[in-house]
């Protein structure tokens, strides 16, 4: 295959909303969240309507009034009606897929400036009628006679009212009949990761998040305001008072009673949005925009769905191979924390000669991913995992970390329900 010359993809700026833990139905729909995050980017970079060529948004479960949510967002942002917008769905990798799709559009010269990111309002996930209720309603509507209608009414049973929780269905893999948490239990079992290790990891995630906020390292957050005027300025799932003792008291949720994965060592169900503004170097120069960094390459891998949590390792291996890099060339890592067990399993797999030989076809281990270079400002266990948005959040935050620490290269990676992984290589172009 002849390799064509590709355009470089620069990141001008990025912003995200605070991530809000789902406590009943939240104040914002997915499009609302996206508007808050992206509107700020447009305002502070003085972007005019026509400068954006395309809007790409990752979203797993848009609301019923948000078909092709990316277009909804684009119009609500007041962008030109002639600006195309489309939505991508790759489960937990949706936000990263949006960024990858934007990269491709720019690399191939089809677009100069793309607004890309992800949004999710998990708290808005609907309750559905169960099938008995649906059948009953259909029957009722088809009855023409009064008697027929009466008969149908009499056939109504209390069980018909039991709702189906769309969110839980979405967080399950129906091909292997496992919930996401159960796939994490499998990894814990495979890699001998115990409850203590998981809880310790979870505690560190909270602590690092608290420290990062105190140090002012979360500047990418743009406040949200609801219709009642309440301001939401920070991630609200982060617990400054978390402790091993408190975490230890939580019951396993997925493999009940005997399992080890608890809500405390899993990512939280959360609402949030994150966007990046991507552009060619020429556009950056033309519009005199700042540069946050460069997106070098994005790779995807896939594996057995019942071990979906190891997805990042498959993607990272491909990415390093493609770019002829070693793990030690990477200064900072962001691997989304779907589950503490899953992240820890990734680290073990990467440094295991045996695993990498057998499953990745390498002749030795991929290499160390040092804990002190991974998710240094905490992760989804603390701040939450709005599935469509997280891919954009980890990419944006990895760029911020590199810039802040004057380091060159980073990788941001996602595990993806259904057995996939994605990883993006980023570079800091500012002072190193």
């Amino acid at each position: 295959m002849v390799k064509q010359k590709r355009n470089r993809v620069l990141v001008v700026d990025g912003a995200r909303t605070p991530f809000l833990r789902a406590k009943g139905r939240g104040a914002f729909h997915a499009a609302d969240l996206a508007v808050f995050a992206a509107r700020e980017l447009i305002l502070r970079n003085k972007i005019s309507q026509q400068q954006i060529d395309e809007v790409i948004t990752g979203c797993v479960m848009p609301g019923p009034c948000e078909a092709n949510i990316s277009r909804v967002i684009s119009l609500r942002l007041g962008l030109d009606v002639h600006t195309p917008a489309w939505t991508v769905q790759r489960n937990c990798g949706s936000g990263l897929q949006a960024i990858d799709s934007a990269m491709q559009a720019i690399q191939t010269g089809r677009a100069e400036v793309v607004l890309a990111g992800g949004t999710e309002a998990m708290s808005q996930a609907p309750l559905l009628f169960n099938v008995q209720m649906v059948d009953w309603l259909t029957q009722l509507q088809s009855q023409r006679s009064l008697l027929g209608q009466l008969k149908t009414y009499l056939s109504l049973r209390p069980g018909f009212f039991k709702p189906v929780i769309a969110l839980l269905l979405g967080l399950s893999d129906h091909q292997v009949n496992l919930s996401m948490g159960q796939t994490a239990e499998i990894l814990a079992h495979d890699f001998e990761i115990n409850r203590q290790m998981m809880d310790e990891y979870a505690l560190r995630s909270h602590q690092k998040s608290v420290e990062a906020k105190a140090a002012g390292f979360l500047n990418e957050i743009v406040p949200l305001y609801d219709a009642k005027g309440r301001a939401y300025t920070a991630d609200d799932g982060v617990r400054a008072d978390s402790s091993l003792e408190k975490l230890g008291k939580l019951q396993p949720f997925f493999d009940k009673k005997y399992g080890q994965v608890t809500p405390g060592n899993s990512s939280q169900i959360t609402d949030g949005a994150a966007y990046l503004l991507l552009a060619t170097p020429e556009a950056v120069e033309k519009y005199q925009w700042p540069v946050l960094g460069e997106l070098v390459d994005c790779q995807w891998g896939a594996l057995d769905p019942s071990r979906m949590g190891l997805g990042p390792i498959y993607a990272i291996a491909k990415l390093l191979q493609a770019q002829k890099l070693e793990t030690r060339d990477i200064d900072y890592w962001e691997i989304n924390e779907a589950f503490a067990a899953q992240v820890l399993a990734c680290l073990k797999a990467a440094s295991s000669d045996e695993y990498c030989r057998r499953h990745l076809g390498l002749n030795k281990a991929l290499g160390e991913i040092p804990l002190d270079r991974l998710n240094i400002d905490g992760g989804a266990i603390a701040c939450g995992h709005p599935v469509g948005a997280s891919g954009a959040r980890v990419t944006l935050h990895a760029l911020e970390v590199l810039k802040r620490n004057h380091q060159k290269q980073g990788i941001a990676s996602m595990c993806i329900g259904g057995g996939q992984g994605g990883a993006v290589l980023i570079q800091n172009l500012n002072s190193i």
């Binding site: 003085k46 942002l77 219709a227 301001a231």
Partner: protein, 686 residues
């Protein structure tokens, strides 16, 4: 078929269903109004239609994008000198409208855009009314706002169509309703998308559904007996008295009077209606309200003479004023960035915007779009994107200087810079700018969504083009621009300062709160001076006292000072001169009743104090003329419209007597007053 006759204001065409489409397009006017000439032509047309046996139906429709019909020709009516002439005109129109109503073929009014006054009366004479669902479609009978009531049979037909209670409400309030509200009331037969308006009209003609204006509502039928009419009217008058006084606003009382006299079903109700308008047209209220209407038009003219449009406004300060201005602008379709360091202030501004958008825009997608247009911007990124930057921060010169230095660095060269200051000097604020001519004042009044006036302030160095842009912007957001010159309190607050001053002075002389405020309300002001001070905030009044109430004695100010020191700041702290329970003012009864002579004295002094300020404003050319001044006090200070303005009211008094009182009040010689050029200007015109 013979070639259709040509008319100047109407276009006739016949379609394949033999329906006659009567399109109104009044020549040489931007909007359709029913002038004498327009109705005269219509008269010929209706005769032509009546004699045309082939015609299956008639549709009234407008050819103008500006709307359906905005009413009778106000200018023409205001020039009528002999009331008999007016009555005669209305008779003719009534006969014409009855002829339309009596046509044997169905007649439909297809309404898109404004359908007001005489326009709605014409629509009411049609058998069916269909309205487009556009937000610009508004129906109403605003005649009472001009001191008259409908005169083309509208007040009779509305009662028949809507029933007594709903119909009376509709006429007495003179409020417009949108298409959906009109459908709910039964004022229109259907609401459709504009694209279906013509098809719907054809449908109504071909199917002729039962519900037409010819059948009256049960309440109208039931309440027709004279005894019932007078009982119901008694109740309605009670309600009306709480809102307006008969000697100040006679028109609504006349509507009730007509009904109690002749009912709504008999033919003579029409004659009574016309005669009643003839009587009203002679009243000073009517004269003055027509003046108010023309003052409003005059202020709109201030925005003519240039091209300027604001797409993005940046507002600094999300306090009461800044936040409410942002809300108003977002609802009016502008992109708004609102800068304030406090998330609470921004949140509160957004919440108020949401409430306002709900109230004004009603539909979910429009409310959402308004909210999306308003971007909270604590870092002030919008500064370099905005076409207009309005500063509404605290009234502190040093703070404003910092803000404007920063604005100067970041604003686009083409951006207009403005301040909402009400107490600081524009020139002093502008001093830090590279080009001080760039700054104007755009002074809004509280509550922003309710007050129609906005003062556009020019300082000595202000570029007149910039000031014009300010006026154009004010008109763009559907407010009335009043150009004023820089000077303490500009116009409106200067006048209100006079009102406060006289109010506090009366308190000082031992008058009770209730007496002082009652005198203010008797003058026709919406609130007495002390209630108003409570609303404005006593701390704000105290801070402004040195220049708004310079003549106030120590003693009056000590009372104010004491309140402020105790933290009793008025309505906002629920305690000031009065106590409040939420929105409600708790009025304590006086021990002694105030005699009417001393009430009159207070009222006279309130008026003299304001008049005195008005003359100073004229003298120092804060405003350019008598009309502008009157417009300012009516639309900005709440001066009663039925008096036609402060100066208009002054002229109703005997010149010499007024001169004596005013000289007394000011403690100057009459001869000094008579030399005053503003005094001369007052009496020179009209």
């Amino acid at each position: 078929m013979s070639e259709p006759k040509k008319y100047r204001h109407w276009q006739l065409s016949q379609d394949e269903h033999n329906i006659t489409w009567l399109s109104i397009d009044v020549a040489d006017r931007e909007v359709n109004v029913l002038s004498y000439a327009v109705l005269e032509e219509l008269s010929d047309i209706v005769l032509e239609i009546r004699n045309n046996g082939a015609c299956t139906g008639v549709v009234f429709i407008s050819n103008k994008p500006s709307g359906f019909i905005l009413g009778a020709d106000v200018k023409e009516i205001s020039q009528v000198e002999d009331p008999n002439e007016a009555v005669d005109f209305m008779h003719k129109a009534q006969i014409l409208f009855s002829m339309i109503e009596a046509l044997r073929i169905p007649v439909v009014a297809a309404i898109d855009g404004l359908c007001l006054g005489g326009g709605l009366e014409l629509a009411l004479a049609c058998h069916y009314r269909i309205a487009s669902d556009a937000s610009g479609t508004q129906l109403g009978l605003p005649e009472v706002k001009l001191g008259i009531h409908p005169g083309f049979g509208g007040s009779v037909r509305v009662l028949r169509l809507l029933g007594i209670f709903q119909g009376m409400n509709f006429i007495l309030q003179g409020r417009n309703v949108d298409a959906y509200a009109a459908k709910k009331m039964g004022l229109v037969n259907d609401v459709v998308a504009l694209r279906q308006l013509r098809r719907a009209a054809i449908y109504f003609i071909q199917h002729q559904p039962k519900k037409t204006v010819k059948t009256a509502r049960w309440s109208t039928l039931l309440l027709e007996p004279p005894l019932l009419r007078s009982i119901v009217t008694g109740f309605l008058v009670q309600g009306l008295k709480k809102k307006v006084k008969q000697d100040q606003y006679p028109a609504p009382y006349a509507v009730l009077g007509n009904w109690v006299e002749v009912g709504a079903l008999k033919e003579k109700a029409f004659a009574e209606e016309a005669a009643s308008v003839g009587r009203l047209i002679l009243t000073p209220t009517c004269h003055n309200l027509f003046r108010v209407f023309s003052l409003q038009e005059k202020l709109k003219e201030k925005a003519k003479g240039g091209e300027f449009k604001v797409h993005h406004i940046h507002i600094i300060g999300a306090g009461v004023m800044g936040g409410d201005i942002a809300a108003w602008c977002a609802v009016q379709g502008l992109q708004v960035s609102l800068q304030d360091p406090s998330p609470q202030a921004l949140g509160s501004a957004l919440a108020r915007t949401y409430t306002l958008a709900q109230k004004l825009l009603k539909r979910k997608h429009l409310i959402e779009a308004a909210m999306d247009r308003l971007c909270p911007d604590p870092q002030g990124y919008g500064l370099s994107k905005a076409d207009l930057i309005l500063e509404a921060a605290v009234e502190n010169l040093a703070v404003k200087h910092e803000i404007f230095k920063n604005i100067d660095l970041k604003a686009k060269d083409s951006a207009i810079l403005a301040t909402n200051t009400s107490s600081l000097s524009l020139s002093e604020i502008a001093a830090v700018l590279k080009n001080p001519g760039r700054l104007i004042g755009i002074h809004f009044f509280n509550p922003v969504s309710k007050m129609p006036l906005v003062e556009v302030v020019s300082a000595e160095k202000t570029d007149p083009k910039t000031a014009l842009c300010g006026a154009i912007f004010v008109k763009q957001i559907k407010k009335l621009p009043l150009p004023v010159r820089d000077g303490h309190g500009f116009l409106v607050n200067q006048i209100l300062g006079g009102y406060f001053e006289a109010g506090f002075k009366a308190l000082e002389t031992g008058q009770s709160l209730n007496a002082v405020d009652k005198a203010g309300r008797n003058l026709g002001m919406p609130m007495g001076p002390i209630e108003l001070a409570d609303r404005v905030g006593l701390d704000v009044c105290l801070a402004a006292a040195p220049y708004l109430m310079p003549a106030s004695s120590e003693k009056a100010l000590t009372a104010l000072q004491a309140k402020v020191q105790q933290g009793e700041l008025g309505y906002k702290t629920q305690k000031g001169f009065y106590r409040y329970s939420g929105e409600k003012l708790i009025r304590e009864k006086d021990k002694d009743t105030v005699n009417s002579a001393s009430l009159k004295k207070i009222q006279r002094n309130l008026f003299l104090s304001m008049l005195s300020r008005a003359l100073i404003c004229l003298e120092t050319q804060i405003v350019s003329g008598v009309d502008e001044l009157d417009a300012g006090v009516i639309f900005g200070a709440g001066f009663p419209p039925f008096r036609g303005g402060l100066l208009q009211y002054a002229k109703t008094f005997d010149k010499n007597e007024l001169a004596k009182d005013l000289a007394d009040y000011r403690k100057i010689e009459i001869t000094a007053l008579e030399k005053d050029s503003a005094w001369q200007q007052l009496w020179a015109i009209g």
